[in-house]
């Protein structure tokens, strides 16, 4: 008798098996949901006749390759020290494109001295990179919109070329629907749902450079960015442990624009207002894909990666005595009461 494989949802909070609807509104009957699958711990999958001695081929489940939910990141954090990076920014600001471009660059060559050492989420990367490939039939590189309302994470392991015999650095980089951030800046309840940001080793706050380049939306875009950070600080989502990097994306739109002073309008203003309440605040310009001939594609990506790779998290945490860690292992670090 053929065993009926009963699938379960591995995403926390999803009520699909309790007669509710899928958390992400996915039709699970079409095998489209990355979280809805059988696993070896699911006792219900065992065939009632499994005691018979007939040698039958059974399937061994392999890792899904898709993006990981916060709970699923334990498959990495239980094994390795990891760095959790939360990318924050409104829809279409370039969060997913940044992720995709790191993986695209590694498919062509190392990112300067950083070598690809593996990824448990290659399928997740492949999907996100698809509209940048000739196979998608797109005429210019694009990125599909992230639909997930929950934080999901992509995994990337990298090694320095001179340290190939050492353990790689494991990055877990978030990807989430930008609308969550737009909503959270105006709602205490929604902001407090973003507790994962408290666990992040690095928070990258992306401001859409294309919107800054348009004079009609420039002031609004900058004000909204300030509002988000202010709200996150006032709701204790950001605090003196937060290592924040403010990035203006799509810098190719601003590269030749003399009417915008990055040092004055972004660096000075954000520093004056927020520096004293944060662990660290830094600034950068990014152009993951450049349409400006005078600015190379991938501008700023290497420097950003290098800062994540080289900064020692433990040193940073030891500077803030109010955080007591029982272990340096990421498993403990990422265990959140409300995650």
């Amino acid at each position: 008798m053929e065993a009926e494989i009963k699938k379960i949802c591995h995403q926390s909070g999803c009520k699909i098996l309790e007669g509710g609807s899928c958390l992400e509104s996915i039709d699970v009957t079409k095998d489209e949901c990355p979280h809805f699958y059988a696993d070896s711990q699911n006792d219900d999958v065992k065939d009632e006749n499994s005691n018979d001695q007939t040698k039958q081929s059974t399937s061994i489940k392999l890792f899904t390759g898709r993006e990981l939910s916060f709970n699923e990141t334990s498959i990495i954090t239980n094994r390795y020290d990891s760095k959790l990076i939360a990318i924050v920014g409104e829809s279409k600001s370039g969060k997913t494109t940044l992720l995709a471009e790191y993986y695209i660059n590694l498919q062509k060559q190392p990112i300067k001295e950083y070598y690809f050492a593996g990824s448990m989420t290659q399928t997740g990367f492949e999907e996100r990179c698809f509209y940048a490939t000739v196979g998608s039939k797109a005429k210019k590189p694009d990125t599909g919109r992230t639909q997930s309302r929950e934080f999901s994470f992509l995994h990337l392991a990298l090694k320095h070329k001179d340290e190939l015999d050492k353990e790689p650095t494991h990055f877990l980089i978030s990807d989430i629907w930008g609308e969550r951030f737009r909503e959270a800046k105006g709602s205490t309840a929604l902001m407090q749902e973003l507790t994962i940001l408290k666990a992040a080793d690095f928070v990258l706050f992306i401001i859409d450079g294309e919107k800054i380049a348009t004079k009609a939306t420039r002031a609004l875009t900058i004000e909204e960015a300030k509002t988000f950070i202010q709200k996150a600080l006032d709701e204790n989502i950001f605090d003196s442990n937060t290592n924040l990097k403010v990035a203006v994306s799509k810098w190719d739109f601003l590269h030749s624009d003399s009417s915008f002073d990055f040092a004055d309008k972004i660096k000075r203003v954000f520093k004056e207002r927020f520096e004293s309440r944060l662990g660290k605040i830094e600034f950068t310009k990014l152009a993951a894909r450049s349409e400006n001939a005078s600015l190379e594609a991938g501008y700023g990506l290497y420097e950003l990666l290098k800062s994540w790779k080289t900064e020692n998290i433990n040193e940073r945490i030891s500077d803030t005595p109010e955080i007591k860690q029982s272990s340096s292992r990421a498993f403990y670090k990422y265990s959140l009461p409300n995650a």
Partner: protein, 286 residues
Amino acid sequence: MNTNRILFAGMYDSGKTTFIAALWAYVNSDKKDKHLKLNTLANSENEYLDMIRAEWLQCKKVTRTNLNKTENVKMNLLNESNSENVILEIPDISGELFSNHFQTREWTSEYDSLVNQINGILLFINPNDKKNRTNFIADSLEIEKELGGTPENNENVNFATWSEEQTSNQVKLVETLQFIEARKDIVTPIKVSVMVSRWDLIEEKECPSPEKWLQTNMPLLYQYLKCNTNYFKPSYFGVSAQGCDYDNQDDVDKMLEVEPFERPFIRLENEVIKDLTAPIIWLTEK
């Protein structure tokens, strides 16, 4: 007696079966000073091996009859240097299976057992396969720009839908190795002979070393291998199991005039050798 189970991994049409056919012909041949030679045909099912060898000897493209079936190949050989009996167990697996693993994210318990028993991996790559790496639009646009073309936008584009089939071979091969690493208890690194097949076509043109070829043409896989020497110990070989392109009748006619064991060759870092067993010997050395 040493039993060595070797996994021949690689995508469809990467040269796995042709190599097995050439290897069977080679160990059976009368060539002097072979490192590995046939020990005995006793207690072995050699029908499949003889069938693919027959095609190879006639310079015909070696084909698998059943893409879904794994042919269990066993060779009982003798290592001439130490007179040790070497049993090679080489399941001839269709390249489709490796793509299926990537797509379905599962494999059978039989395959899982095999993975847990292997001593080494021969990882085959067809250098002419256009799917070895992904074509990115940005790179095409660069070329187009140099030719004076004007970039178009994405309005009115009928986008294709993503599926696992669109994934490049280098990503799938990295995943194959990651699956093995995830399922196998690796105490000492597994040796991986990276076999860039159809090397005669590369040797004619540019002649980099096989390692350099991989670094240039499949950089993601190369980086992965460089970074994971605690799990996988790679060595790089260019292999021409056929000796020439069978679509070129003049080359085939020339090839039919030489001893079959003289046809194939292996490109090492700095030299070309006629010993087809070199990648196997390296894998089985302690």
